[in-house]
Symmetry: C2
C-alpha cells in the first residue's frame, strides 16, 4: 500500500531537478520562449515520439544517441518546430549545444521544439538565453509557460508517493498542447521528471502504458504534428521505488494532463468522453470511439448543444465497424437517447438531453450490442474560435 | 466522333421525363420540400449508395426490389432523412406509395430522402404533395430546389450528345449536397436521367467509373451520411447510343456536379485540388491526397489564406504513407513552395504564394518522388460559417 499526494509547483518538488524559462524576444508576450530542465546527476531517459513520418530535427537528434544513453539536460524552445529543416536542422542543434557548453557542461543534452514548421532556428536568439538562465532555479511555472504555443493556460502537475516502508518519491510534469491533437500520439510536448529509483525497463513499460491510456485517447482536430514528444527522466535520488505506486501515479499524471490539453483544445468549451461498448473487438470499439471524437459534425453539434443523436449514429455507421441499428443503444450520461424500442426522442427526454449538453463535460455511451469490445476516447467541441485560431496561427 | 452541347434546364430536356417540386409546409422557405421525377415508359435503373452501415430506410426499400427491376417514378423529400427509423421507416414508405397510387399508377416507385436523422416521415404532409404535383410538368428548377438542404444554390446540368450518324441523346441531372461530404461516397443525392438507349451493363460500369472520378474525390468535412445516393435512369426513348460519348458526358456531368457541391461546401469559399504524385502506389497517393483534403489544419490555413506549407507536409507525414523529406516537392499552382534544396520560403516566393492563395481555386501538388502512384482529390476551406451552419442545423 502507498499514499499519493498532490503537490503544487510541478517540476520544482522533484529532488535534484532544476528548471527555468526566459524570454529572448521570440514571443511577443511576457512568457518565456526558451527553457531548460536539468538534473544534478545523469538520468535514465525514455521517450515516445510522434507517429508522423516527417519527424522534426530534435527527434532525429535524440535518436542519434546510443540506446542506453543518460542525460542531465533538456533545452526547449517555442515559436519554431525545427521541422522539415533537413540535416541543417540537426546541425543547428549541435551548434546550439556547443555554445551551451560555455555556460553549462551538459551531458548528452536533448533539445525539444514546438512552433511553426519549415524554418531554421534562430540560433543567436536561442543562445542568448544561456546567460539569462538561472541554472540553479526551480522555476516550474516559467518553464511550463515557456513551452506554451496556442495554449491558454500552463499545464503542470506533481504527485508525491509515500510508501509503507517510510520512503517516498516524487513525480513532476509539465506539458503543452492545444491543437493538432489526435489519438495517434496526441500532439504535445510533455516532460516528466522523477527522483524514484525506477529501473529502465519499468520506465519503458509504464510510459507506454500511460501514453496509451491518456494522450493516445484524445482528439482536438485529428491532426498529428511532427514534434510530439513525451519524455520521462529519472535520477534515482530518492532511493525509493514501488512499481504499482509509480504506475498509478504516472497513469494519473498523464491522464490529467491529457484532460487539461482537451479542456484547452483550441476554442473548445466542452470535454466529452465517447465510450463504445459491445463491439465485436476492442479494435472495433477503438475505431468507432475515435471516429466519434474526430467527427466534425459531432463536434459542431456539441458546440451547438444540440442533442442530435443522429450524427452520433451516422458516425458509427460510417466508421466501418460491425453494427446493427436494432441492437445499438446510445446514452448521454445516464439518459437513454436511442434504442430500437425508443427511436424518436420524446419531448421529455429531449429536454433532459438539452440539459446534459449544457454541461462542461459529459459522457456519450454507445453500446453496439454485439460483443465484449470496449474503448473510451475523449473529444471536445469545435467552435468559431478553433477556426479563428488556426486561420491566424502563423501570422 | 461526337459533339457534346451543354443545355440549360437540367432534367427538362430529356425526352419522356417529367418532374415537379412543391412545398407542403416542411420547409419554411418558398422552395419545395417534396418532388418527383417520372418517365413515360419504364426505365432501367442503376444506383450507388452510401458506405455507411446504417443505410436509411429508402435505400433499404430500394434494395427489396428484384435485381433487374424497372421503375418509372422517384419520389423525393427534404427535411427528414428517414434514417435510423427501423422497419417502421420502410413501412412508412410503403404506405406513402399506397396513397400515391390513387394519383399516379407508379411502377416500382423509389423513394429518396434527405434531412434530419432519427424521426419518422410526416406521411400526411408528404402525401398532401400528390394533389399539388403537376405530373406532366418538366419543372427541373423546382425539383432541384426541393431536394436542397443546407445548399445555397440549386445544382442541375444537361448535356446533349450528337453522334455522327445524325442521332442524338440527352443526359440531365440534379443533385444536392453541401455538408457531410467525404470521399467514401460524397454525401449527396444525385439523380441522372437519360433517353439514351444504353445497355444495363454499361449503365453499371459507367456509373461506377463516373462516381469514382467525381463524388468519391471530394471532401467538405470527412463525414459520410446514411442517405448518399447516386441514381441513373434510362428510358431509351431517343433510340440513340454510343458508349464513349456517354462515358464522356457522364464523367463530365458527375465531375461538374461534384465541383458544385464543393463550391457550395458549407461556409466554403475556396476550391482546392490536392494532387499527389510520385507515391509508391496509387493507393498511397489516394491516402495522402484524401488526408490533405480532410485535414482541419490545412482547411483552416486555406481559409486564412496563409501559405503555411508546413501543414501540408505534416499532414502527408501523418497520413502513414511512405515519404522522405529530402525527395518531397510541394507546388502551389506552378510555384515551387518546398524542395530539399529550397526549404525556407524566401520573401519573394512567399509573396507569390499569398497571391495564389487569394484565388477562389488553385492546385496544391505534392510529389513524393518515390514512384508512379498518382491521385487527385478536391477539398475546400473551413470557415466560421461551417461551424455556424452545423451548430445550428437541426434547430
Amino acid at each position: 500500500m502507498f499514499n499519493l499526494f498532490s503537490l503544487k509547483g510541478g517540476l520544482s518538488n522533484v529532488e535534484g531537478f532544476y528548471c527555468d524559462g526566459v524570454n529572448v524576444g521570440m514571443k511577443s508576450s511576457e512568457d518565456g520562449d526558451v527553457a531548460f530542465i536539468r538534473s544534478d546527476v545523469p538520468c535514465e531517459v525514455t521517450a515516445r515520439f510522434t507517429s508522423n513520418k516527417f519527424q522534426a530535427a530534435p527527434i532525429k537528434h535524440y535518436q542519434k544517441y546510443p540506446k542506453d544513453f543518460k542525460t542531465d539536460f533538456i533545452l526547449m524552445n517555442a515559436k519554431n518546430a525545427n521541422a522539415m529543416t533537413g540535416e541543417q536542422g540537426i546541425k543547428d542543434i549541435e551548434s546550439i549545444f556547443d555554445e551551451l557548453k560555455k555556460y553549462y557542461k551538459a551531458q548528452n543534452p536533448i533539445m525539444s521544439s514546438t512552433g511553426v514548421i519549415g524554418y531554421r532556428l534562430n540560433q543567436e536568439k536561442i543562445c542568448s538565453a544561456f546567460e539569462k538562465f538561472d541554472f540553479n532555479a526551480k522555476n516550474s511555472d516559467k518553464t511550463a509557460r515557456a513551452i506554451m504555443t496556442t495554449d491558454s493556460f500552463k499545464k503542470e502537475l506533481c504527485f508525491k508517493i509515500e510508501l509503507d516502508d517510510g520512503s517516498s518519491f516524487t513525480i513532476g510534469a509539465i506539458c503543452k498542447g492545444a491543437g493538432m491533437i489526435n489519438p495517434a500520439m496526441a500532439t504535445m510536448l510533455c516532460f516528466i521528471t522523477t527522483d524514484a529509483e525506477i529501473p529502465k525497463a519499468d520506465m519503458e513499460e509504464l510510459l507506454s502504458e500511460a501514453t496509451e491510456g491518456s494522450f493516445n485517447r484524445i482528439s482536438v482536430d485529428g491532426d498529428t504534428s511532427t514534434n510530439d514528444t513525451i519524455m520521462l527522466l529519472a535520477n534515482g535520488l530518492s532511493k525509493s521505488y514501488n512499481k504499482e505506486a509509480f504506475r498509478e501515479a504516472l497513469n494519473k499524471i498523464t491522464f490529467e494532463l491529457a484532460m487539461m490539453i482537451l479542456k484547452d483544445g483550441e476554442g473548445a468549451n466542452k470535454l466529452v468522453a465517447f465510450e463504445v461498448n459491445g463491439a465485436i473487438s476492442e479494435e472495433e470499439a477503438r475505431k468507432a470511439s475515435i471516429a466519434l471524437s474526430n467527427s466534425l459534425l459531432v463536434k459542431t453539434a456539441l458546440f451547438g448543444e444540440d442533442p442530435n443523436w443522429g450524427r452520433i449514429a451516422s458516425t458509427i455507421g460510417a466508421s466501418g465497424v460491425e453494427c446493427d441499428d436494432t441492437k445499438l443503444t446510445i446514452h448521454y450520461d445516464n439518459l437513454l437517447i436511442y434504442s430500437n424500442e425508443q427511436r424518436e426522442l420524446d419531448q421529455e427526454r429531449e429536454k433532459k438531453a438539452y440539459k446534459i449538453m449544457k454541461n462542461d463535460s459529459f459522457k456519450v455511451t454507445c453500446n453496439l450490442g454485439l460483443g465484449d469490445g470496449s474503448y473510451t476516447s475523449y473529444g471536445c467541441d469545435l467552435s468559431y474560435d478553433y477556426v479563428k485560431i488556426n486561420a491566424e496561427y502563423r501570422t
